[in-house]
Symmetry: C3
Subunit: 330 residues, 3 copies
């Protein structure tokens, strides 16, 4: 349906410097050079958006946003990305309105129906592997994973990497702190994979002892070349971190509320005094949001706090860049 020559893919294709027609399902499709190719395109999109430039890059294109579970932030970020580029959306935000599903239609058929109307599909789905299945069903158009359960959410990691890059001009030779639910956080795991594509990066992991990184995950990241140092106390945070990445303790992962309360009582929260004591004046403070007990609002006005400012906006610019690239428009 598009002038773009899409390939028939049995399995996920590596980007290999050519985004056009590719699905974006997993961070593992990206090599270092793909991310290096992407970063200036994100920068370009930022310039365009900041200046309220009217873009017609995606004019004549309809992008289906199929959200089988609610995610207002990711939904609006993708919707904004399409519309900022002059494209239009088909929006399914509410799983119950996918009426054909309730009549017993297969997931594959649903995807193929939307494929028939669209230049691309952005999919959010609670079941891990859904994005890959959708990419397989939609042979003629690209599919973008906007989060499939606890599996992957690649655009989150790409925006995080751009946020770091924008600040420091590089993705090598960085020292960062990853804190909070290191065991469960999809966001942290994915960022570690992203950082391991570059050289000489060190991450300090700070978590409650119950929520340490799984040993096999740790071994894997180390094998990929990332240097990992686990610490037990904020007193061990090195002063030269370029970034702190804080994640909420995910209540829904705990078997009992008591176990959750015990951890939260230890107050895994960034406060102004924590920041002033252990961060440098250039350290940026990131959070994938929502923050629930992770960062004291008193920190918001600190210049180093990027979570409610550039980090969110970079999500918009990153999605603009990816959509333009896979549709052969950038």
């Amino acid at each position: 349906m598009s002038q773009v020559a899409f390939r028939i893919r049995n399995e996920l294709a590596m980007i290999n410097g050519d985004f056009c027609g590719k699905d974006i399902v997993s961070l593992d499709q990206f090599a270092r050079q793909d991310i290096e190719y992407l970063l200036p395109v994100i920068q370009h999109m930022k310039n365009l958006a900041v200046n309220h430039e009217v873009s017609h890059l995606l004019a004549g294109h309809l992008i289906s946003l199929l959200f089988f579970e609610p995610s207002s932030r990711t939904f609006s970020s993708f919707a904004a990305a399409v519309k900022r580029l002059g494209g239009q959306t088909i929006e399914i935000q509410n799983p119950e309105t996918v009426s054909s599903v309730s009549k017993g239609e297969s997931f594959e058929d649903t995807i193929r129906v939307f494929e028939a109307y669209s230049s691309a599909i952005v999919l959010r789905h609670p079941v891990p592997g859904s994005a890959r299945a959708a990419a397989r069903a939609a042979k003629d158009i690209p599919v973008v994973n906007a989060g499939d359960g606890n599996n992957e959410h690649p655009t989150q990691t790409l925006l995080d990497m751009y946020t770091i890059y924008e600040q420091f001009g590089r993705l090598d030779h960085l020292t960062g702190l990853l804190a909070g639910d290191v065991f469960n956080s999809r966001t942290l795991h994915s960022l570690m994979r992203g950082l391991s594509l570059f050289n000489n990066n060190i991450v300090y992991l700070l978590s409650p002892p119950q929520l340490r990184l799984d040993r096999s995950d740790l071994a894997q990241f180390v094998k990929r070349g990332l240097r990992i140092i686990e610490i037990d106390s904020e007193k061990d945070i090195p002063h030269d971190c370029q970034f702190w990445y804080w994640t909420r303790i995910q209540k829904e992962r705990f078997a009992s509320l008591d176990a959750y309360a015990e951890i939260v009582a230890k107050n895994f929260t960034v406060t102004p005094s924590l920041l002033d004591t252990y961060a440098s004046k250039n350290t940026i403070l990131m959070d994938p949001l929502p923050r629930v007990g992770t960062i004291d609002p008193a920190v918001d006005d600190d210049e180093r706090a990027v979570y409610l400012r550039s980090q969110i906006r970079n999500g918009l610019y990153t999605r603009m860049a990816l959509l333009a690239l896979i549709l052969g428009k950038a």
Copy 2:
């Protein structure tokens, strides 16, 4: 509110070759010449969409999509049609968000409120006759029926007729097979009415004995000039059918699950071997979707299977054509 001179209509107007300002509520508004007028406009819309041409035909026009029951496929098809033509939509997908209704507002008032903002209203409603009632309430703008209960869904039939026409270049002298729930299927009944507007068409009806066409319906279609042949077994399907139209057995119509199970056990499903044995190499295989047990996915890659490809897309082109015509833009 529009430059188009809309007529005040007490009852549904026949199209009579002039779509401008007309409601599209029932297939019975269409005469043969109206469909003949419509077909090349659909073809034009197809060319426009396939080439990703940016159309501004509906620029400055807002179309309200009022879906009082979920129907993701029809909803997205209409939304895509408006947007492809450069128009914009007011989207009400969720009946509970029509808050005024829950406060006790009459259906007529709700329609008139949306009329005030819109160039046209597309209505989906579970109650038969709603589209006609809406057309009566909205005196100044056209109303399009996107399905009113088990009553009418005229754009489905028009897209089906275009799909057949596109393949064979005619709507006369056709032989078709209509299979599945011949008793209940609104889609099949409506297609028979459409085919009866043309000459020398024959349809074979294949259904479980409990789901045969009602005798008075049969008499009516025959009176309209359609030749109908009822068959009991796939062995009686003639080999020269131009199209097979398969519909699902509608579970929700059965008093007991046992009665449903008994019929479904007989396996009213199109398989590759059924197709190879009884269809010709030019027979197209249609299904209004969702298919639930009607067509084996192994058939999907067969060139004759149009249900997930041109049939869906033709729905988009048909709705583009109708909207442009009733708004005086084509």
Copy 3:
């Protein structure tokens, strides 16, 4: 994010003839000269919309419509306003899809996330004071109150004032009838505040005795310069009213259904004969809708009935004007 120089506001800013960058949270921000500035801009927007002119005033701008409670009429009016001006919307219609809220995110964070993507936020929220809180959270872009509980709904009053102005060419020296639930109606209270900004206006209040204006409210309006006359029977309606403004008895406000039924039994309904007996031939009949028992549909075709015609459309034009003004585009 905008070229517009927004001010940092600790509290609500008066408009003072300069709408650019201002929040629109309360009618109390408006002085007489602000409304006089606004009226011809609304008239301009009306001309633009009536002629289906394609406007690009808001091209490149995304407006977030955050509806934390359903309100189909107000929602579609704002959506239509943005789209008619060539802008685009981020639409959150269903409170449950604001997923981050259900994960425990603060209201302020939610607002700031949408702020990052948007040129303005339109907020509907059940909690009084929400709009003000949102305006405080979103420091860089304007927030428009689309109704915050029983507190304020300023665009409703502005459209009502435009509707009267359009008919009579003035907002001074008017006599009006306000009827129905005078005690509870936010709409009536707000209109009285609006009318009190102008000179020599008289309002007759007609309500069941249980639903009279609160004495302190009455004193306040009188102090502002409005002349108020309470009447008990339609027989006391003066014949020279420029407008009748009718509001429904709000069932949900009554402790018991019996108390409600007792009042409704008294038939507080406008009928053709009531209108013919007590209104003049120039009196316009207004209702904020939905009307539930307030106006007999037999009145709808009377030329003086503006509630389903110009009053609704003026809502669209008023919102177009306000959005254009606060974004520095008109």
